[in-house]
Symmetry: C2
Subunit: 248 residues, 2 copies
DNA sequence: ACAAAAGTGTTTTAACTACACCCATGG
DNA sequence: CCATGGGTGTAGTTAAAACACTTTTGT
């Protein structure tokens, strides 16, 4: 049934191969200003095509795991990170994304906390880059990151997404810094704090952040859209549970 | 190299197969009230699994076409429709979507005009259904339609999507009817018309719709987010060109 | 002339912006 | 006591909701 010749034509007729990739965002202090900025980890390709170039972490889809599980596992394997937020971004299936074979990539995007991001092992083949200074990446990964950035900013503008960058307790100024870093514009502290205090999911604790140079700010807690590990999160504003959130 | 035994295990180890499906929305007059309501075409399955049940139109992904092209072609083949708007919805890749084999479906959603929708051939195996009265569909297609409805309503609320349901010229009341049908609530005609007149993409023509029972309303034209056939559309509000629009 | 939809005006309400100001803490 | 970020107050602007009203057509 499988002659050698049939084998070759079979390979040409093969359906596109399926891959999973992830765009991982974290806030890290800028080297220059020290203010938080957007970073993401990339892996260096050790094989053709695009050997030596940096690329999004990813890999093939095992036939025993869902798309989300595959993205989470892959991310864990390549960077050691466990994301607090993980959602499907888009399926990229252009004909010439990879020079050798046809590849359809289902791309996820993730948010991780800076404490986790600090733990992420950096090596010769895994390195963090500022999202606005990536250089040329392998495949169509520059466009993918651009789209992920657009989605992130979009969700940020009317959403409850910012808290996934932060730990369980945070000051309102920290939330503002997240917004300022992602949207790349400064916001009025007074008005911003009023907006946050008007959202019921943000609740004040009786703790204050000590150790700063000035008046210690109050710590707050986010009580929405968080669920146990690997359990569908509470959808925000009627959104179906296709995005998943993880406790801490 | 391919013994019969290896062949069997090979099939079990096979990567998930890839399929394309499309949720097609159109407005058609309700049988009872005559007001426009949301409808979508389904195809009856003639094979197992789920033989006899209704399902979203779809099919395999040819290796010579992009995901968008595959969705457009498939839609054309099964319903004869050429959509005015076609955008990727989501990639569904749960483990048990299909009882026999693992299938990853990349689902698109489309909007078509009622004139086109009327042309769509109905047959024993293709029929239009009201979006809110579908019954039980094959696979996870009920959930997919639910998600598509959510996305449609979401995009409608802050978007320039409604016009893709309509022809090149329309009255402001017709736009309002689109909103009312999709969002399933009535809107104040006065305020709605003011909002539309404030959007620069909607431009008045000097024509009026004749033949009505009352004062003839002015016809308007939509001048945004339309491009030549098979050419990336003008992104709305900074959105990347991952959705495609087609002239008329 | 009358019904009904097209189209306009006006008042009220809510939300956001800008910015002045007070508070608490480390140095 | 002063610099600085934390935190509050308040007037001005803008957008939307509610609804009364006028206009224009077919019958």
């Amino acid at each position: 049934m499988y002659s050698s010749a049939a084998n070759v034509s079979e390979r040409l007729q093969q359906p596109p191969s399926l891959a999973i990739s992830t765009v991982i965002f974290a806030l890290r202090p800028s080297e220059s200003s020290g203010r938080p900025t957007l970073w993401l980890p990339l892996v260096r390709r050790i094989r053709e095509p695009f050997r030596g170039l940096w690329a999004l972490p990813g890999g093939p889809l095992s036939h025993t795991e869902s798309l989300l599980d595959a993205a989470g596992r892959n991310l864990q394997e390549t960077t050691g990170l466990v994301p607090k937020y993980l959602e499907q971004l888009y399926a990229f299936g252009g004909l010439h994304r990879s020079p050798s074979q046809r590849v359809v990539s289902i791309v996820y995007w993730a948010l991780v906390q800076p404490t986790e991001a600090a733990l992420a092992e950096e090596s010769a083949n895994v390195r963090w880059f500022r999202a606005d200074r990536l250089g040329t990446l392998a495949f169509d990964h520059n466009e993918i990151v651009e789209y992920a950035l657009w989605r992130l900013r979009n969700k940020m503008e009317y959403g409850s997404i910012a808290y996934h960058f932060l730990g369980p307790k945070f000051t309102l100024a920290q939330v503002r810094e997240v917004y300022e870093a992602v949207l790349d514009k400064s916001l009025d502290p007074a008005n911003f704090r009023r907006q946050l205090k008007a959202t019921p999911q943000i609740e004040a604790t009786d703790e204050y952040l000590q150790g700063g140079k000035h008046r210690p700010p109050r710590l707050y807690r986010y009580t929405g859209a968080a669920a146990a590990h690997a359990v569908p999160g509470q959808p925000a504003a009627g959104e179906p549970a296709l995005a998943y959130t993880f406790q801490q």
